[in-house]
């Protein structure tokens, strides 16, 4: 099919990985495509195998999802695409889909005799690249290679593109003719996102087919650069090409920037949407519920997805949602980006989540390195994003709000992620566990921006070590300085001054954050938010502090600085809407961990991450994988989950940095522990100090 294998352009990437080394020559593509078919029905399995063989694909069949997963895990690059039935006795097809997406990031086609719109939609939202209705015809299978090519192409593009390719070149064709049966694909939000698909560039297709997806990790520094560039251009005028030019990062493609920008925009939009409700961050922060409101819709999906995937225990999901929706008592504002666990991992949604709040943020100010010191996995970048968003938010409400609701969700997320490996899914015990922590972390710092940032961070976090970077980058998250003004009173004094970044003290941090934020320090408002959310629960808001630290920014000692400074119990005053979200996450995770010891944000960030890793023992790899996957794929996919209940929130705050804290918080939340029951996450009253470590 594609004659050109010599395109050579795909040199980057581990293209060879795509195809077995020296195996199928691109010329023969799609012949030799390695397909894994999973279906519990032996009749269907045999038929599918025969059909696929008739298409000249290499088929491996298995009748159990567990077996399929282990096959995939053992052979990381052993398969190109997976086809799975929806209804299976041992594991839900969608869950398998998520696992695969997160762990291996292979294209997955779902199939079922069920053609109800809901089911198909579920496939779409879970990230399936196609949905086939049984009985499957061979014609439908002949074109499945397109999904492989598309995916690789996108990745390749991201790698290769250095901004020279115009988006116009890439037209997203519905590929009706190509995909005989992929009705689900058309208009698929996912596909629409991948505008980069270029059907016309067959040559690249050939090449891309051989490429392994290159992943761009949005490290803190990178994100900071990104945010700086965006700010410089102005959020409205920031186009990927220009951003790329400004950033001047070798190896970064316009595609990477474009997708990252999209996420960032969503994040900002989200922030701004939230903040609108609350002029002051305080409010927003305080009312976690409020923030959840707006987020709920967004997150709902995520939550559900998560829930579905088992990552988010159903009850947690409900909680989060409830929290988000219900609580918004006062603050309805900030829709804290819910770090949907799924999101985190799936990079798919994310943009929508984050983007919202972001717009405003972007416009503002310099990137505050909110997360500066956030030791936890929050990457500075993420903090920055939070910051950015925070800035634009104007009212930290976003943060706050989101915080409230989100914090719980975030916390949950964080906690989840942090669950030392298991938090992720308390119930599900998904492999993601580690991821959340990392993700959570960043998110918190960014508060709302976290959404975006989260992603970045996540990517980094995945690495495990990546997080530390966050702390280092300090500048990155300069938490929305603008917001700080709004925040008046909101907790994140963190403002920009590095001093604030010393948030070691949990309570202090919040304060710091507030102030910082106001002063536009790189403080990570998000952290505050968490704090606010849990006003005094010192529950281990290690994370929170951490988040705050980040805001503090610019300090080399990012988190710590912020937190320390404020070591007082002030609850993070709302300004951390953004950060709070981030924090929340962090806090969450930390709380969950129960250890909450790391008051030291910088340490915390690190610890959080490491804590996660430690706890997650084993999650590390997963996390790394996940993060890697996440990062590579898309910019931060952080999804802020909302913490449905206060308890969770409390938990978050309680242990600012302790991952364990977060985890425990999350866990608690999930269990519905009333715990801190901080329904009113008013940052004003939130004192970090109170957070018990």
């Amino acid at each position: 099919m594609n004659p050109s294998n010599g395109k050579g352009s795909m040199s980057t990437a581990s293209s060879s990985a795509a195809w077995k080394a020296g195996d199928v020559v691109p010329d023969q593509f799609p012949a030799g495509l390695r397909v894994l078919v999973v279906d519990d029905d032996p009749t269907c399995l045999v038929i599918l195998e025969k059909m696929l063989r008739a298409c000249l694909y290499e088929v491996t069949k298995c009748n159990r999802a567990e077996i399929a997963l282990s096959l995939l895990r053992e052979n990381k690059n052993g398969f190109d695409i997976v086809i799975s039935d929806v209804h299976m006795p041992d594991m839900d097809g969608f869950k398998l889909l998520e696992h695969i997406g997160l762990e291996m990031d292979l294209p997955v086609i779902m199939m079922s005799a069920d053609d109800g719109k809901n089911v198909v939609m579920k496939g779409v939202t879970h990230g399936a690249c196609d949905y086939l209705i049984k009985p499957v015809r061979i014609e439908a299978l002949r074109n499945i290679w397109q999904h492989v090519v598309r995916k690789r192409k996108n990745e390749w593009r991201e790698l290769e593109q250095s901004g020279s390719v115009e988006e116009g070149d890439r037209q997203q064709k519905p590929c009706d003719d190509l995909d005989y049966s992929s009705s689900a694909n058309e208009g698929n939000w996912k596909s629409s996102k991948k505008r980069k698909d270029e059907e016309e560039e067959t040559e690249e297709r050939d090449d891309s087919s051989t490429l392994k997806k290159p992943r761009v990790v949005w490290s803190v520094e990178l994100h900071q650069q990104f945010v700086a560039a965006v700010n410089q251009l102005g959020i409205d005028k920031a186009v990927p090409k220009k951003i790329l030019e400004l950033m001047n990062v070798p190896g970064l493609t316009r595609e990477n920037v474009a997708s990252h920008l999209q996420k960032y925009r969503l994040y900002l939009r989200r922030l701004s949407g939230v903040s609108q409700h609350h002029s002051s961050l305080n409010n927003s922060f305080m009312s976690p519920e409020a923030t959840f409101g707006p987020m709920s819709s967004l997150n709902g999906l995520d939550l559900q997805t998560l829930a579905v995937t088992g990552q988010l225990p159903a009850q947690s999901l409900a909680n989060l949602q409830a929290a988000g929706l219900g609580r918004s008592a006062a603050k309805s504002g900030i829709p804290m980006p819910l770090i949907d666990q799924r999101n985190l991992f799936s990079f798919e949604n994310p943009k929508s989540r984050f983007g919202e709040g972001q717009q405003q943020h972007l416009s503002s100010s310099k990137p505050m390195n909110l997360l500066h010191g956030i030791p936890t996995t929050m990457e500075p970048k993420q903090l920055a994003s939070l910051h950015q968003s925070a800035q634009s938010l104007g009212n930290m409400n976003v943060q706050v709000n989101s915080h409230g609701a989100q914090s719980s969700s975030l916390l949950m997320q964080m906690a989840k992620t942090q669950s030392r490996g298991n938090i992720l899914n308390e119930s599900a015990g998904s492999h993601l566990p580690t991821l959340p922590s990392s993700i959570g972390q960043p998110i918190i710092s960014n508060g709302i921006a976290g959404g975006v940032i989260g992603r970045n961070e996540i990517g980094d976090n995945g690495r495990g070590t990546g997080y530390n970077q966050v702390a280092q980058t300090s500048s990155m998250l300069s938490f929305p300085m603008n917001h700080t003004t709004e925040l008046a009173g909101n907790n994140f004094p963190i403002g920009s001054t590095p001093g604030i970044s010393n948030v070691t003290s949990k309570g202090a941090f919040h304060e710091e954050v507030n102030s910082e934020i106001k002063s536009s320090a790189g403080f990570v408002p998000s952290y505050d938010i968490f704090n606010d959310l849990h006003p005094q629960k010192s529950q281990d808001w290690e994370l929170q502090n951490v988040g705050l630290h980040f805001n503090a920014s610019q300090n080399a000692n990012p988190v710590q600085g912020n937190f320390n400074a404020s070591q007082n119990a002030n609850p993070v005053q709302g300004n951390l809407d953004v950060s709070s979200s981030v924090l929340v996450h962090q806090g969450y995770s930390s709380r969950q961990q129960g250890s909450g010891q790391n008051r030291n944000i910088s340490a915390m960030g690190r610890t959080m991450f490491s804590g996660l890793e430690a706890t997650g023992q084993g999650n590390e790899q997963i996390m790394d994988q996940l993060l890697n996957n996440l990062i590579v794929d898309t910019p931060v996919r952080v999804k802020y989950e909302r913490f449905s209940d206060t308890s969770s929130q409390n938990a978050l705050f309680a242990d600012p940095f302790g991952q364990e804290d977060l985890m425990s918080a999350l866990l608690k939340q999930q269990q519905g522990n009333t715990g801190p029951a901080e329904p009113d996450f008013d940052f004003d009253g939130y004192s970090i100090d109170n957070i018990p470590v």
Partner: protein, 152 residues
């Protein structure tokens, strides 16, 4: 020639399956997959289907004996059964499956049981006819079936 007659007979038999609505287009898909490498592919698949689906039939029967009826479970079983039946192109059986599921959703136990009886009947009829068909096809010689008439 006897052989020709046999083939003709088989041809007509096959055609009647479609005409009577016992089989649908999906069966043709299976036939198309049959080649020299797998000369008895269709028969193998159908055999596999009957073997596996008998297990589900049993499950459904047992579930129908429960009181009260667990419609959710019944629906799940039927979903599985329907999936299999669909994949071999068992049209009438599939129609009964759909009917059964509708009764399940409506919570109509009586309807479920009635439909299930009907389903079993169709299921058995198809099995018998296909077995006959395959047997004769083998007797007539594999290559003869090469020029498989397509369903209109």
């Amino acid at each position: 020639m006897e052989r020709n007659q046999m083939h003709k007979h088989i041809f007509l038999m096959r055609q009647s399956f479609f005409d009577q609505g016992l089989l649908d287009e999906q069966f043709i898909q299976l036939e198309e997959l049959q080649d020299d490498a797998n000369p008895n592919f269709v028969e193998e698949v159908v055999t596999l289907y009957y073997r596996d689906s008998s297990r589900i039939i049993l499950n459904i029967e047992q579930s129908l004996e429960r009181n009260p009826l667990d419609f959710n479970k019944l629906d799940n079983y039927m979903h599985q059964f329907k999936g299999s039946s669909t994949s071999i192109g068992a049209k009438k059986v599939k129609a009964e499956c759909t009917q059964f599921r509708e009764y399940c959703r409506a919570g109509n136990g009586e309807g479920c049981m009635r439909t299930f009886q009907q389903l079993k009947k169709e299921y058995a009829i198809l099995k018998r006819k296909l077995e006959n068909y395959f047997q004769q096809s083998r007797q007539a010689g594999p290559s003869e079936t090469a020029c498989r008439p397509r369903m209109n």
